[in-house]
Symmetry: C2
Subunit: 169 residues, 2 copies
């Protein structure tokens, strides 16, 4: 898997999250409740709510693209409260991911990645992708899915996975 | 990220799951309940229970190693009911992952991967890793974590992520 594939996988999954939100909205209409209630739903009282899970998934994708592609990450304050705002947040993230090209990611495996939370220490680019970006991104995406699923939204594994480039013959 | 790193990430995360089960066992003792109750816990009535999430995470890792490393996957029937049995299942999976070496994975990106559920169609090895193995593996691992977290087990993000190869200076 190259670095461009990893960013592409994050982008695909963020688009899948938009589809889950679409299904959640249809469910809210059918059940006559306000869909934005789900933005504050969570699985444990001391866990991030749905909105924060989506914001975190976006940030994992954004910072991976920025660190590995040597781009400045745009600032996206975590102010979203509604499903409409969260979808805009995803769209802003996708627009940034689009600016990071395969050529920007050349040599990413050996890049020094030093996010603020490492307090001056660093990770190799390949270690950042494997040990931080991939597990964290899918943690937040799956938690967002789990919160909707726990609240009755009709999601299945193919909603989570999305399209697969299957070949014939 | 090379294919060996991907298998290594799955192995590391399976070992992390064993640590979550350790914490769940301590919590069950402190609260005077039978820990194996959690093996049947789930977040929605039509979703896999904890035991099946662990079995599925193991299988995603096992089949990735088998398909990409061109090895025969050992049969592991989903018979586990208890935490002790689930830990044995993880150990059996880890033992198999250990048999797949970096040299077995050379050229994995172009290998034709044709799991039974594709009904004769196939995926390139790189597409299998990106579109199937990584998202599915972390789906089941995160769901296992979410089920324990929802039931009150004191887990945090570092339990999920495990050790990170941080460098100094």
């Amino acid at each position: 898997m190259n670095y461009n594939d990893a960013i592409g996988l994050f982008a695909k999954t963020l688009r899948n999250i938009e589809q889950w939100m679409e299904k959640a909205t249809a469910y809210a209409i059918a059940k006559s409740f306000e869909v934005d209630v789900l933005a504050q739903a969570r699985l444990a009282p001391d866990q991030f709510a749905f909105a924060r899970q989506v914001q975190s998934a976006c940030d994992q994708a954004k910072y991976t693209a920025a660190y590995l592609g040597e781009k400045q990450a745009p600032s996206h304050p975590d102010t979203e409260q509604t499903f409409a705002e969260l979808r805009q947040r995803i769209e802003k993230c996708l627009a940034f991911l689009d600016t990071v090209q395969a050529k920007d990611l050349a040599g990413a495996e050996e890049r020094k990645v030093s996010p603020p939370w490492l307090g001056g220490k660093w990770l190799r680019g390949d270690d950042y992708l494997v040990h931080v970006a991939i597990p964290n991104f899918f943690f937040h995406a799956t938690m967002a899915y789990a919160i909707l699923r726990h609240n009755g939204v009709d999601l299945g594994k193919m909603d989570y996975i999305g399209a697969i480039p299957v070949k014939d013959g």
